[in-house]
Every structure is written in C-alpha cells, then in structure tokens.
C-alpha cells in the first residue's frame, strides 16, 4: 500500500465525490461523537480531570530526557530489554532482529499506530515471517490490503457484506483449521450477521495467538518510575499478544512516557472517555517486565523499543511541540468537518484528521506534506474537542508559516498584501475593478487563484458597491445639513 500525503489535495477532492464513503463517515463520526458526548455529560469535574491529564502530559514533555533515562533504568531492572531507535529503519531492524533471535515464524500484533508508522509488517514479512494484525478492524483491512482509516475504528469504511466477501475470498487461503462448526467461509453469505463474522475472526485469530512466537504491540503510557507499559483496548487481542507468545515487543514513540503512576492514572481517567465514551476501556494492562519465576503465562522475554523518528526535533518548537501531548483518543478526527467529509485515507499517512495533519507535517519530509496544514478551515472544532487542550489551528498556522518561508505565498497573496499596505493603490485598484467589473464576472479568470472558477460556479459572488466609507461620509453630510443629531434616552 502506497502511503503518501503528497496527493492530499487531489485525494480529498476525490473523496468528496464518493457518496458511499461520505454516508459511512457521516454515520461513524456522528456515532462516536454521540457516545462521547453522552459520556462527558455525566463526567463529574470533567474540566478538572482534563486539566490534570494535560498537566501529566506536559510534565512528561518538560522532563522528557530524564524520564526516558529513568524508564530505561526501571524497565531494565524489571527485566525488560530497552532499545532506542532514531528512525523507522532502525526500529524495523531492531524488531526484526529480536524476531529472528527468537526464531519467530508467526507474529501477532495488537493495534498500534506506531508500528504502522514504521511500516513494520512488510519488514517482518520480508524476513520470512507470518504477521497478523489481530484487532478485528485491523485484521479486516490487512486482509483487504488497505491502510486503516480511523484511529479508533480502522475499517469503518467497510460494510458487513464487504467483510463477508473478504472472509470468503481470503480466510480460506490462510491455512486455518479452526473453522469447523461455523458456516465454512467459502459459502459465507453476504447476509452473514456481524456476530457471525466476528466469531469467525475470533476462531481464525485464536489459532494464530496460540501458535505465535512473538507478540508486538504499541504503548499507550510508559511509566518512568516503575518501568511499566500500559496498554488500553477493548477486544482482548492486546492481552492475548502479551500473554500467549513467549516474547513481547512493545514499541513506543518517545513522548508516551508518564513520570508517575499517579500521572498515568490521571490520563486513564480521561483517555477512554474521550476515545469511545467508555468510563474505562474493557481491558487496561499494566505490564512490568517479563513473567516472574513460577508464573505460568505471560511473555518470558520483554522488549521495549523507544522510537524517535523526528519527534525529538519538535521539542525545541514552543508552539508545535503541543502536538506531542496527544494521546490518540481520536476525538478531534470525529469533530473535524473536513475529516467528516473526506475520511482518513485522503491524508495519505497513518495519522489523519487535525492531529494527523499536524503529526505528519512534523514527522514526514517537508516536500510531501506542504498541503496538509492548508486542508483546514481553521474552524477550531478540534481545539474545542481535545481533552488535552491542544490548539490545533494555532499549530496549523505555524506550519503554514514554515511552508510560506520555504516557498512564498504566490503572486496573488503578494499583490493583495502590497495593495493592503498602500491604501491609495488599494482604493484605486478596487475602484478600477468596480468600474470594469462590478459583478465580479472576471473573478474566475484572476491569475493566482485557480479555485476561483469553482467558487463562483457554486456561489454567487458579492458585487462591488459604493464603498462604506464614501456612503458614511455622504450620510454624515446629510445629517449635518438637517441638524438632527442622534440622541436617545441615554443621552438625556
């Protein structure tokens, strides 16, 4: 799957014309917003909890280097092997190395954006391993050969009939034996119920969990004072991935650290509510090192990969580093009118929606992401939604500034600013326009704004009228002549 945000403009324009996609997105984003809204309504002292979660995240960023060193030390003391990866290639190399060292043939993965970010699956597959995404939505998009479309719901763009067709076509190829007692996937009908489809996936993946040599997951929170990793989920696949295979690799982007268990608890109070409207996700695991002597399950060997991949550079940027506060609840995506309209794929990267446009711009090559911060109306719905108080529009503007510094605003922008700085020329220019083209018929042909034609096509443009300042002057003169000053009771 080719992932690149370079085509963002083209892709988002295309997505608008996909009626099915828009209907699905509309349904999904409303569903998530309604669930979240209901949960927040009954969340006592909500703003205080939000502020504490933000403070916990800020505290982590403010002491990031010390906390990562402390985490390394405490995790090592707990028996976890800690690795540092400067970029995606290094992370892939480290994880592939671990997999090869333990002779892994089958790898199961819990849902994680960061392993998607480093494109881990192709690397493990190239090393001859079978890799399974085990979150139901991720499993479905993996079978379909597509990237996930949403942080929280990777396959919201697929209907049950799509899934049935996919299982029918693909499950048989997996060499699974555990499908007896179910309608065989070859004659699975398009009318198969969602619980039936889910059960089929459970059986298929159960077999893989039990056969797996290695489990790979992301990290929601890593606790510096205890060396623990905290994983949050609803399905149980992450618990399976850390409980059954003998080796567990947790991959964290370096900002995911929290100083203390108290900070982690403050984050856990908010994250599930903001993500899915749950008071707590079905499963939260706090894992500290490998299984201890005499324990009967859990990974015998645990690894923690600390990934940078461009983040450390962002810490020097006072405005932009706010993006590192994000704990990926996905709420800003659902609140964003642009995301509601175009969905996740158009962004061409693992991260989509408002926070995705910011993260991709910060982490990916500048020449690929220059359109991302402009695909935003600055309406601020994201900012109002974010429990951590991230001011996405402000960050978008800072990114636009960066783009502008590297390539300028274009002729039209420069001309407008010149005129605005020189009022006499400005008035002359507008006056000339009014004389020549009062109804702005020529607007679509103005150089520098190729979108104008479309704009005028769908909206009747305003006319140029006798300017306000001239009209006011005339009225003032009339007032003076009639000597009827404006008064009201307040003046009496």
């Amino acid at each position: 799957m080719e992932i690149n945000p370079r085509d963002f403009r083209e892709q988002s324009e295309k997505a608008c014309h996909d009626a099915t996609l828009r209907a699905v997105l509309d349904h999904a984003t409303r569903y998530f917003q309604a669930k979240r809204g209901a949960a927040l309504e009954t969340f006592a002292d909500r703003e205080t909890h939000f502020a504490r979660a933000r403070a916990a995240r800020l505290a982590a960023l403010s002491r990031l280097p010390e906390l990562l060193e402390q985490l390394e030390q405490t995790a090592t003391a707990a028996g976890t092997r800690v690795h540092w990866a400067a970029d995606a290639a290094q992370a892939r190399e480290i994880i592939t190395g671990i997999a090869q060292d333990c002779g892994a043939k089958v790898v199961v993965k819990g849902k994680s954006m960061v392993t998607e970010e480093i494109a881990l699956n192709p690397a493990l597959e190239a090393a001859g391993m079978e890799v399974w995404e085990t979150d139901l939505g991720e499993f479905i998009v993996q079978l379909a050969g597509e990237p996930p479309s949403h942080i929280i719901a990777p396959c919201i763009h697929k209907s049950r009939a799509d899934v049935a067709a996919l299982f029918r076509a693909k499950l048989g190829l997996l060499g699974l034996s555990g499908l007896d007692g179910l309608p065989g996937q070859e004659n699975l009908s398009d009318a198969a119920s969602i619980p039936e489809l889910t059960l089929l996936a459970r059986k298929a993946l159960r077999e893989k969990f039990l056969a797996a040599d290695l489990g790979v997951t992301g990290v929601n929170i890593a606790v510096a004072e205890t060396g623990s990793v905290i994983l949050v989920e609803n399905e149980g696949n992450i618990r399976m991935s850390t409980t059954c295979p003998p080796v567990h690799v947790a991959v964290m982007s370096l900002e995911k650290v929290a100083a203390t268990l108290e900070d982690a608890a403050d984050i856990l109070r908010v994250l599930p509510r903001s993500a899915t409207g749950q008071k707590m996700s079905s499963y939260v695991s706090v894992l500290t090192g490998p299984r201890r002597p005499n324990e009967q399950d859990g990974a015998r060997e645990t690894h923690l990969v600390i990934l940078d991949n461009g983040r450390s550079e962002v810490l020097a940027e006072p405005i932009l580093r706010e993006a590192l506060l994000c704990f990926r609840c996905g709420a800003c995506l659902n609140s964003c009118p642009v995301y509601q309209t175009i969905g996740g794929h158009a962004y061409g990267s693992v991260y989509s929606g408002p926070i995705g446009a910011l993260l991709s711009s910060l982490l990916l090559p500048a020449q690929d992401t220059r359109d991302l911060p402009f695909g935003c109306t600055l309406c601020g719905a994201c900012k109002r939604t974010c429990p951590l108080g991230i001011d996405h529009p402000r960050l978008m503007l800072r990114l636009r500034e960066r783009v502008c510094q590297s390539s300028g605003t274009g002729l039209a922008g420069a001309a407008h600013s010149f005129l605005a700085l020189h009022p006499l020329f400005y008035r002359l220019a507008v006056g000339a326009a009014r004389a020549v083209d009062p109804n702005l018929d020529l607007l679509p042909r103005l150089p520098g704004f190729p979108g104008l034609a479309n704009f005028v096509d769908t909206r009747q443009p305003p006319e140029l009228k006798k300017p306000f300042s001239a009209q006011l002057l005339r009225l003032r003169k009339k007032q003076a002549r009639t000597k009827k000053p404006h008064t009201n009771k307040g003046d009496a």
Partner: protein, 254 residues
C-alpha cells in the same frame, strides 16, 4: 461614549450596508462612532496563509489607525480575532508588542460590544420573523449573537442541527480545496434550509457571503443579514427606533 469602528475589507467594498447598520445601531444606543477612513486589511489573509512578515506590516498600520484609548468595534468575529492576535506578531518587551497588547484589550466584536451596553441584551428591538442563525466558528464560541437576537421581541431564533459546524469557507481553503469546501457548504445550507427561515443571520460577513451566495445559486434566496442589520431593522420597528430615527432611514438589506 465613543468607539472607533473597524470595517473589514469585505464590508467596505462588497457589503457596505453592514457597516451602515452598525453605525445606526450604535448611535441609536448612544454610542458615538469614529471611522478612520484609510482602512484596508487587518492582515488576516496574510496571517492565515503563513505570511507572517506581511501580516506584521499590516498589523503595524492597524496599530497606527486604532491607537487608543477608544474601544475598537468590528462587525466580524474573524477580524476582531485577528486584532487580538497582533501581540503574537511582535517580540515581548518591544514597544510594538505593548501597543498590540493594548489594542487587543480594547477590541470588541460588534455583538459582544452591544451586549456590554447598559440595558442589553434587550435593546428595544422588535421584529416578527423566523431567523436562522449561523453562529460562525470564527466567533470562538461566543454566544453574544444568540443572546442579542433572542432578546428581539417577536423574533424566532432558529439554530441548525449542528450550530457550531463550519460553513466551509475558510478563506484560501475554499479556493484550494473547492470540492471539500462545497461539501461543507452544502451540508450547512441544507441544515439551515430545513429550518424554513425567512432570514439568515450571522455576525460573520464572510460566512454570510459564502452561505448566501450558495443559497442564491440554489435558487433558494433567504435574505442574508448581519446581526447588526437585523438589530437595526428591529429598532426601526421597535418603540425606541421610532423615537430616535435611524441613520440609514430604513432597512439596509433592501
């Protein structure tokens, strides 16, 4: 009391009737209005395209034009917000930064300002009309237009299903992402039309232009009015309006 009027470029050249309504309402409420005549652009467009240097140059002009101490009133949420953003354009500790801070503390969006006057929100306006309100995301969540309009006697204030949702304009956005912009606008227009309003009211001229332009193309013209125009007309019909007379001498939206 006297205020300095800040007129957005869109209002100056395309929607001057909004400016006249602002003056009319304010004067009828006993507020004197000064209008510096050489206004052009507050720098919002440069700022939003990332051209900070030009935005700063334009901000310097505004700092001259709107030197204190009178309050500055502007019939646009987004322009008022731009003026409040000026401090970010100058290094803290510099004289320009101090001037920008001073200005930012004196800027009012029109509805916010009217709401701060004695007697508000009921300013004596009256109008039997079904008004659909577009809140505009550029108002930064302010509920001043809702509060003023709900106090107009006889006025039925209608809000669309997703009142806070963006109309898709976004300035440059509507040119760079025309299909996305149009999709958002389409959603907004349909949610507004579902209210079956007689007039469409907003405190943001650019949103008003965007939505009403689309409704006109749809052949569903609903009279678009800035909140100031709605209040001005309400004052004409109300008791107080009859007593004091308006600057504009009649509805400015005709």
């Amino acid at each position: 009391m006297r205020i300095t009027l800040m007129i957005p470029c869109l209002v100056e050249d395309c929607l001057p009737e909004i400016g006249l309504a602002v003056v009319s309402v304010l004067e009828r409420l006993g507020v004197g209005v000064d209008h510096p005549r050489v206004q052009t652009c507050c720098g919002q467009m440069a700022w939003k395209t990332g051209d900070v240097a030009r935005a700063r140059a334009l901000a310097l002009r505004s700092l001259e034009l709107f030197a204190g101490p009178a309050p500055v009133v502007c019939p646009s949420g987004s322009c008022a917000k731009m003026l409040r953003t000026y401090p970010e354009l100058f290094a803290p500790g510099t004289p320009d930064h101090a001037r920008a801070l001073d200005l930012a503390g004196r800027v009012f969006e029109f509805c916010e300002f009217v709401l701060s006057l004695p007697g508000a929100p009921d300013i004596g306006a009256e109008w039997n009309v079904r008004a659909a309100l577009h809140r505009s995301c550029q108002m930064d969540g302010s509920d001043a237009p809702q509060r003023l309009l709900s106090a107009v006697r006889g006025l039925t204030l209608l809000e669309p299903e997703r009142p806070e949702r963006c109309c898709g304009f976004g300035g440059l956005f509507s040119l760079q992402f025309p299909a996305v912009s149009e999709s958002l606008l389409e959603d907004k227009a349909h949610e507004l039309l579902a209210l079956d309003p007689e007039i469409l009211v907003s405190a943001e001229p650019s949103c008003l232009m965007n939505i009403s332009g689309y409704l006109a193309r749809l052949g569903r013209p609903v009279r678009p009015l800035h909140a100031a125009q709605a209040l001005d007309h309400g004052l004409d019909l109300g008791l107080q309006g009859a007593l004091t007379g308006a600057l504009t001498g009649g509805p400015t939206w005709r």
